[in-house]
Amino acid sequence: MNKPYTLQELLIITAAREIHDYEKVILGVGIPTTAGALAKALYAPHAILMMESGVIDFRPLLPLNHIADMHAIRGCKYVTDLFSVFTMTYRGFVDVCFLGVAQVDKFGNINTTCIGDYYNPLKRLPGAGGAPDFISYAKRTVLTMLGGEFVEKLDYFTSPGYLSGGSSRDASGLYPPGSGPKVLISTQGVFKFDPDTGEIYLAQIHPRVKIEDIVKKVPWKLKISDNLTETAPPTAQEIDFIRNFAPAQAAGRKIANELIIRNARNANAQGKPS
């Protein structure tokens, strides 16, 4: 009998399994940093975790709020400036980077800047941050998509995936050969990119998800792997790590927020926060 787990735990664990021992890894805050902490604890003890703020070789004590979080800096092995983290990536020292996605197209190009016209936006999203430069020069990129969407055409082209598909990324001469997005992890499954066409396809499906649920959210005819597998359930050890390290993340934002508000109300009523 497997230990029961939450969807959030499954996502973090699926992401963590993308980190291999001895790799140099660029992480963003949220699922990636927690995945990094898990990987370092269980399967990649020699991985070098880094964030673009200049924190290098860290092992977070607590789940992180942002990319210069004090809880990553305490006990890290090297602090440098932001500029150097990117030139380090440009020179080929970074094996894998993790990026979040708001909109993604068929070839793994990403929008994190706006919804609607850039000059007259319906929604202004956070923006580029470090994403375009990391996905350009890290040896490979893992995408994570929580609230995002698949679109035929991006509202704004923030970060380069396989451009117009085929060999267009390599042919542009702008990127190291072989670089680009390799995996996209969503709340429904794991997608990969065809090495010849650059097109995204469904490789793995999470438990309780139906293929048609995935297909209907993709505005083109989504390719599906002949060897489609179901995401392997997390081990008890993996679940225990996440639940201890980042209990609110394990619970998910909605439930965690409910509990935080309840706790704050109780504390207010008693006149002292717990």
């Binding site: 800096i73 850039y118 470090g130 430069d133 704004y156 926060p273």
Partner: protein, 352 residues
């Protein structure tokens, strides 16, 4: 650059005085801090003084930019990242200002933004950036920078095309650090981000700090100094000066206050209420803290106070600190100062 002769009158002043003296309408303002330890009180003071028409440079325009925009101070923004309170469904003051066209933004990547400042720091007219940006909309879609957002040159050595960004030298940088001495040597530790670059690229620098320390503290830890005194125009001591953001070694981010702020961003009315309560009504950081304590209790502050985790001291020791040994002899020549003078006289080397 006012740095050097300012020392005669003293650089220590209040936030109000520093902003009055060095931040002016329509100026280019750099936010020194990157995510961690924002210079909150200096930002609040700019809003209170109703500075207008600013062009703001912020590496990660989160709480800093959100408050300046909500305060009506900003006309143009150069950034890589802005904040959305409450995630995708929430909104922000930045979004509302972009929609009603009271704000223009020029989007860069983190690296490119930092490159502009570093070109400014070192006095270069431009800096090469990473060519991978060329197919993207960052490269193609431009606002107030126009043609000068990026320009392409041919590298004289390789013959390859190189994407460049122009230097930025903002009029004034506001930055919060852990500690500084009265002359402005500013010590900061943690992720370095682009903190030093933002400050050093700027023409004037206002440093706020958790504590002003004596010169000998700075002299025993020069590796922590990121801005040298001669570049600094104002030093403002503001305990809890970054609250609700964190300062390593002093306090954590205040999740209660931050959540209230994040919730407020999503709606103009809520944001105005938040600004009135926390920015406009308190006259300074002391009154802000008094209001906070009255509302949430002193315990809310106490529980985010950092417990020490000291760095191992770096040993700056050397074998000796004078060329004269315990016997009064010069360490290498083996003579006393009297003997040396006698020898110089005998050899006719002294102009008597």
């Amino acid at each position: 650059m006012g740095g050097t002769h300012m020392s005669q009158t003293g650089k220590i002043m209040t936030a109000r005085e520093a902003i009055e003296r060095f931040v002016f309408d329509d100026c280019h303002l750099a936010i020194g801090n990157y995510t961690v330890g924002s210079c909150m009180e200096l930002i609040f003071e700019i809003v209170r003084q109703k500075k207008r028409g600013l062009t703001v440079y912020s590496q990660s325009g989160v709480i800093d930019v959100e408050i300046l925009v909500a305060g009506g101070c900003v006309e143009k923004l150069v950034s890589t990242y802005v904040y959305r309170g409450g995630g995708r469904e929430g909104g922000s003051s930045v979004e509302r200002a972009l929609k009603n066209h009271s704000l223009e933004i020029e989007d860069y990547t983190n690296f490119e933004y930092n490159a502009r400042l570093l070109a400014g720091v070192h006095g270069f007219p431009f800096m090469p950036v990473l060519e991978g940006i060329r197919p993207t909309d960052l490269f193609h879609k431009r606002t107030f920078m126009g043609e000068n957002k990026y320009r392409i040159i041919v590298c004289p050595y390789t013959g390859k095309e190189v994407v460049t960004v122009p230097a930025a030298n903002p009029d004034v940088c506001i930055v919060h650090v852990q500690r500084a001495d009265k002359d402005g040597n500013a010590q900061y530790w943690g992720a370095l981000g682009s903190v030093a670059a933002a400050a050093l690229a700027s023409k004037k620098i206002i440093v706020s700090c958790e504590q002003i320390v004596s010169e000998d503290i700075v002299e025993s830890s020069p590796h922590l100094t990121i801005i040298p005194s001669f570049r600094v125009d104002a030093v403002v001591e503001i305990p809890w000066g970054a609250h609700p953001m964190e300062v390593i070694g002093f306090y954590n981010r205040d999740m209660v206050m931050y959540s209230i702020f994040a919730h407020a961003c999503g709606d103009e009315g809520r944001m105005n209420d938040w600004m009135n309560e926390w920015v406009y009504t308190p006259k300074d950081r002391m009154q802000y803290l008094e209001h906070y304590i009255q509302k949430f209790g002193i315990k809310s502050l106490q529980r985010i106070k950092a417990r020490p985790f000291y760095s191992a001291p770096a040993d700056y020791g050397a074998a000796f600190t004078s060329m004269w040994n315990e016997e009064g002899k010069e360490r290498n020549m083996g003579v006393t100062i009297e003997e040396l003078e006698q020898i110089l006289r005998e050899k006719g080397a002294l102009y008597e």
